[in-house]
């Protein structure tokens, strides 16, 4: 009994403290909140290919990608790719997210991740940061849109390459990459 309790505690601690959704692993259902605070489940938003993108209103790097976000959405939404744009920053409330989306001309909804619960489950650290989930719920790509915030110096468009590969039923050529960005402004947790 004690051993069972110890195992349960260890597992709980692992889930609470560590990254739950990793590249190559299957995600379980999760929730985000719409800008009125209503919970929305991943299962209601997902498609054959789903992109979860952590973004920000104030991060200059995230904002440098606003137009690219719109272009990727416009290019791939007609191919039945679903997009879940999430703001997990404690410092950017829903009304600011709504105003920002309107100001920059987003053509897709943006959701909040209250208390960065989802950011913790994905271990998302930076904005913008993408996770691409395939039809079976497995994360097939984790990384940036491309390799430079200055579009004129972009060589590799990692997200587009991943989407093209998945839509063609092929392995993602570069499953993970990194780029400079802003930290996700998490809530302070007491331990």
């Amino acid at each position: 009994m004690k051993a069972t309790a110890a195992v349960w505690l260890a597992l709980s601690a692992g889930i609470l403290c560590g990254q739950e959704f990793k590249l190559g692993s299957k995600v379980s259902d999760f929730q985000v909140q719409d800008l009125d605070g209503k919970p929305v489940a991943f299962s209601a938003l997902r498609g054959p290919v789903t992109v979860v993108t952590f973004i920000a209103t104030q991060c200059p790097v995230s904002n440098a990608y606003n137009q690219r976000m719109i272009e990727v959405y416009k290019d791939y939404a007609p191919k039945n790719v679903k997009f879940i744009f999430v703001n997990a920053n404690r410092s950017e409330p829903a009304n600011e997210v709504r105003e920002h989306a309107k100001r920059v001309g987003f053509v897709f909804p943006v959701y909040k991740d209250a208390n960065n619960v989802l950011a913790d489950r994905f271990d998302a650290q930076v904005t913008p940061e993408n996770f691409v989930i395939d039809s079976s719920g497995v994360i097939r790509y984790h990384g940036s849109y491309d390799d430079n915030m200055n579009e004129s110096r972009v060589h590799t468009r990692g997200l587009r390459m991943a989407l093209d590969a998945l839509l063609a039923g092929k392995p993602v050529p570069i499953p993970e990459n990194k780029a400079f960005g802003c930290t996700i402004k998490r809530v302070r947790k007491t331990t």
């Binding site: 200059p60 390799d147 780029a179 400079f180 930290t183 996700i184």
Partner: protein, 155 residues
Amino acid sequence: MKLAIVFWLGLSVLGAAQLTSIDESGFQALVASHKGRVVLYDFWATWCAPCREELPQLLRLEAKLRSRGFELLTVSADEPEQAAAAEKIVRQFGVRGPAYRKQAASDERFINSIDPKWSGALPALFLYDRAGQKVRSFIGETEMSALEAAVLKLL
């Protein structure tokens, strides 16, 4: 006349704050050349508001502990078009000694060369001991008291 000389000297010192380009191997060489001192490498960018807020606190920490062997070295992650703005900030804040700006063929390779666990999020601080070994990293908003405690352990 004296005032003019002081002013000129001041400008000369401030004007010396040109950022030196650095890539992966340049950073490793920098670490190697600073063995014997405890060094905090501050990766920042002009677009990073928390980085700009943090820099004066880091400089105060360096001023307080420099005589005990502690040094702060800054590495801007800015793109070439922001280099002038980065230099201006380095001058304004009075960063001592040489300051650096990454100029790498691949940001990802550069980030991984500093720390494979680092996501690339800024601000990012990496603390090295006197042997030139990385001992701690502080990503995002950092409590200065925690940072100072970590530095003091190494001095």
